[in-house]
């Protein structure tokens, strides 16, 4: 176990925990306005302070974590769900027209500036969490397709795959039964990294008003609301910003840590 892995796991679990607990309990109702208590800095009653409507920031951050996690997680799911089969297929049919089409398609999606297309998609389909998920998810597909294909290609050269072919299994069965289990570690690590990128992307989209819509709380929109008040209530920007940074940092550390931990070669080199 490395320090990265532990720190990353702790930070990520804290965020997950905050989101999970928010279903059962938050310090206050995250939508309840209380104008007399507006713009309070962190204190004993409101641990992270209150916003310009007197809403409790701690409660908003906890519920906002749900939005961030849900959007990023489903986007990773879309990327894996479509990208992994594409990558496996491309590797199984290496050099064929199918491989060529899949890889060129990947290059094309990669060439689009993801943010611009996310904005285009949300602009066309309308702003909202679902469309943010689609926009972020589409850009996860080529990432997973590419790393799956790369890892699968080297596996196809191995003897145990040859043995499976001699045993009469076809390419689809070999991909599902022998290739996929051997690329799982890689996918978990990449999934963690894409998850953190998804959190950042969701925050960016909601910041410009294209993500989750009110009253669904989201960290990005809390920052957008804070912008005009940052001069006299900096905590409005500091609180959601810190939440985003700690989440992304935690997931990145977790990804790095998992990579080192799951890769036996690196592990042996260390001991």
């Amino acid at each position: 176990m490395t320090r990265n892995l532990i720190l990353g796991a702790v930070l990520s679990s804290l965020v997950l925990l905050a989101a999970a607990v928010s279903f059962l309990w938050t310090p206050f109702d995250h939508t309840a306005m209380n104008i007399p208590a507006k713009l309070q800095t962190p204190n004993a009653q409101h641990w992270l302070g209150t916003d310009h409507f007197g809403r409790d920031l701690m409660s908003m951050i906890m519920v906002g974590a749900r939005t961030s996690i849900a959007v990023a997680l489903v986007a990773v799911g879309i990327g894996m769900g479509a990208g992994v089969p594409l990558g496996l297929t491309a590797a199984a049919r290496k050099g064929s027209w199918l491989d060529e089409v899949i890889m060129r398609g990947n290059d094309l999606v990669f060439a689009f500036p993801s943010l611009v297309i996310a904005i285009l998609i949300t602009a066309v389909l309308g702003a909202g969490a679902i469309n943010a998920i689609i926009a972020i998810g589409i850009f996860n597909i080529p990432v997973f397709a590419r790393i799956t294909r790369g890892a699968a290609l080297s596996l196809w050269e191995r003897e145990f795959i040859l043995a499976a072919r001699v045993a009469g299994k076809n390419a689809a069965r070999i991909s599902a039964e022998h290739i996929l289990p051997n690329v799982t570690n890689l996918l978990i690590v990449q999934g963690t990294i894409q998850f953190s990128l998804g959190i950042l992307a969701e925050a960016g989209l909601s910041y410009v008003g294209l993500g989750a819509q009110p009253p669904t709380p989201s960290w990005g929109r809390m920052l957008a609301d804070a912008q005009t008040m940052v001069s006299f209530a900096p905590h409005l920007a500091l609180v959601p910003g810190t939440a985003i940074i700690l989440t992304v940092l935690g997931l990145n550390l977790l990804g790095d840590g998992l990579r080192d931990w799951l890769d036996p070669k690196l592990r042996m080199a260390r001991t």
């Binding site: 060439a111 998609i121 066309v124 953190s196 910041y207 700690l246 992304v248 940092l249 990145n252």
Partner: protein, 315 residues
């Protein structure tokens, strides 16, 4: 080399063709007809029809796609639905904010990343390396628009060294323009600098293990001399590739940063056009950004192949 270049050029043209088709189709399915949007809910049906004819919206989708592409090839991006001015002119105006901003950010990120990456690689595993790597972890985790808000809070509101936003225009002088772009450029450069530092460091570390580095040490160069004379130069190839890719990220990433600083760049143009259903502007700006990204990638590939002959055969 020529064969490789031609092959890449063909795939460049193909990518651009598919990209233009995708952008056109995505925008076409957008709900809301621009003509009725411009005229408001009380417009007569025949007025809407007349405006549609004027804007060319009554033609078939194929005809409109072809005329859009043909126009762009000749530098004509069509006429904005809302402003009734040529889109090419609007884009050109905004470009003078977005492009300098991207270059400014790229310069800053390179100026930060080179020394930081070299420093970290030279002190692999020591405290200095750990500090730099820790800083880069933080750098990639910070949303750049949040960092931008913090810069405004510290340097514009509290210290009053910079304005909190807006752009005086280049007519006000180069220094006034650069001054207004400084905070946005720093905000944009930070995550890129963090990534570039990591690339620089790992490229150098790969090279430090090479035989020619050992030879350099064996013939009596100190670690530092070997690093500077042989290491940095060889590490430049992967680093330059990333710098090329970053330029397109910066150009697109500027969209959100422009919102934070109220800069009249391409990003704000896109947002205004989206809310006004000015589809031709949205299409053209997005296409232009995609064109820039694909072309920069193409040039980086070519430059790469020129430097490293092994890559030519792989295409």
């Amino acid at each position: 080399m020529l064969r490789y270049a031609l092959k890449r050029l063909l795939s460049l043209i193909l990518s651009l063709a598919v990209a233009s088709l995708v952008i056109f189709l995505v925008v076409e399915v957008a709900p809301g007809d621009p003509a009725s949007f411009m005229l408001g809910v009380n417009a007569q049906a025949d007025t809407v029809a007349a405006l549609k004819a004027e804007l060319g919206l009554d033609q078939s989708k194929t005809a409109r796609y072809l005329s859009w592409v043909a126009g762009m090839l000749g530098g004509d991006f069509g006429t904005s639905y809302t402003y009734r001015t040529p889109v090419a002119g609007m884009i050109a105006d905004r470009m003078w904010v977005s492009l300098p901003l991207a270059f400014y950010a790229l310069t800053l990120s390179t100026l930060i990343a080179f020394p930081a990456g070299i420093y970290a690689a030279a002190r692999r595993g020591k405290a200095g390396d750990m500090a730099v790597m820790g800083a880069t972890q933080l750098g990639v985790a910070v949303p750049n628009f949040w960092f931008a808000m913090m810069l405004v809070l510290i340097f514009a509101i509290n210290l009053r060294w910079f304005g909190a936003g807006g752009f005086p225009g280049w007519e006000a002088g180069i220094w006034a323009g650069l001054h207004a772009l400084t905070l946005p450029a720093i905000a944009l450069a930070l995550p890129q600098a963090a990534i570039l530092t990591r690339v620089m460091r790992s490229a150098l570390l790969d090279i430090l293990d090479e035989d020619f580095m050992r030879t350099a040490r064996a013939k009596g160069l100190t670690r530092r001399q070997a690093l500077w004379r042989h290491g940095v130069r060889n590490a430049l190839i992967p680093v330059l590739t990333i710098i090329g890719l970053q330029f397109s990220f910066l150009l697109a990433g500027a969209i959100i940063i422009e919102q934070v600083f109220y800069l009249p760049g391409l990003g704000r143009l896109v947002f205004q056009a989206i809310s006004a259903r000015d589809l031709i502007v949205v299409e053209s700006v997005v296409m232009l950004l995609v064109f820039a990204v694909i072309t920069v990638n193409f040039l980086v590939d070519l430059a790469y192949a020129l430097v490293d002959p092994r890559l030519r055969s792989r295409a």
